[in-house]
Symmetry: C2
Subunit: 167 residues, 2 copies
DNA sequence: GCGTCTAAATTGGAAATTCCAAGTCAGAAG
DNA sequence: CTTCTGACTTGGAATTTCCAATTTAGACGC
């Protein structure tokens, strides 16, 4: 039970309305285990027990994270029934969740590039159709790749104070 | 004080040797505040006091994170001297740290796409040369963009067990 | 010397989060 | 009605984060 705070209207798990996109995003996927759950979801895992075994995360935390990701619209809860068993829940990436492929992909790519594991890669990104290797990159509005060091973050309309773009 | 462990040869802060690239990456940038420090670094902030004021993070945590990011090779510690002041430290993205632009960019893009803030974007990604807007995307080995839902993660050589690629 | 100033930490203790082991719940099978 | 099993809860310990107060180390004036 989640300690029913007295008073406190409490919307249905409202997301943070932080100005910064990164803060809002990390409020959803930034806690311990969340991104690993999502990684596992991209590997086709869907059940509580699969996540539990693969991650080794505490079951109460896993439960809380799955609920949070469902509330945030990243995962979707479905029912399944194994023959001879009662109905249970499974968790599937939503459209929004599949959108995190770029986040997961860039984390994987950074790890491969700057902190490679001597034994090789556990996970490789390929085209679903022809299996050719893919990478994550910046592209301009015409779909042409742009070198990483040519991209800069500049203040948008919601910025409270300007900053000097790096480089 | 950081409890000087007796003995313990101590390599230069050995990273986790986890098989999974995401685990290795999150071991470096997955703790609270780390990615926001890096975001700020991309906004040109370099000093302890700048990070402190901009983030509102506790100073002990900020100190610990900066040290960890320096040890991990993401940030680099430099000395600067304000006229009439003693020498102090500033923190700058290394090559490895600048490589995190894709991670930060994909987090920003996901926030914009799936959890937009009513007031607009705080941060926009543009080409440093001609200021045209950029996005983060999957590209094949010839530099052609590939639709997000066409990318899948498949087991690499270091995978301990195979999995069904999603979709 | 001595006291003051300031940015960058460090420290002690409270609060929140995570971990772990054990327990509950709900249907299915016997 | 007893057992089994996957999906959670629960209580309490361990760890991490938070907060306020303090320390540190040079620069400055005296």
């Amino acid at each position: 039970m989640v300690t029913t705070k007295q008073a406190e209207p409490r919307e249905p798990a409202s997301q943070s309305e932080a100005r910064c996109q990164i803060v809002r995003t990390l409020d959803i996927i930034g806690e311990k285990w969340s991104l690993l759950i999502i990684r596992d979801a991209f590997r086709g895992r869907t059940r509580f027990s699969e996540f539990r075994e693969s991650l080794g995360a505490p079951s109460d935390i896993l439960s809380a994270r799955l609920t949070k990701l469902v509330d945030a619209g990243v995962l979707e809860k479905r029912a399944y029934r194994e023959p001879g068993s009662r109905e249970r829940s499974s968790y599937h990436l939503t459209e929004s969740g599949r959108g995190l492929a770029l986040v997961v992909g860039s984390l994987v790519q950074w790890g491969d590039t700057y902190n490679p594991y001597s034994g090789g890669k556990t996970s490789v990104l390929v085209d679903a159709v022809d299996q050719r290797p893919l990478s994550v990159a910046f592209v301009d509005d015409e779909g042409h790749p742009v070198a990483t060091d040519e991209a800069v973050f500049v203040p948008g309309p919601a910025a409270r104070e300007p900053w000097e773009p790096l480089r």
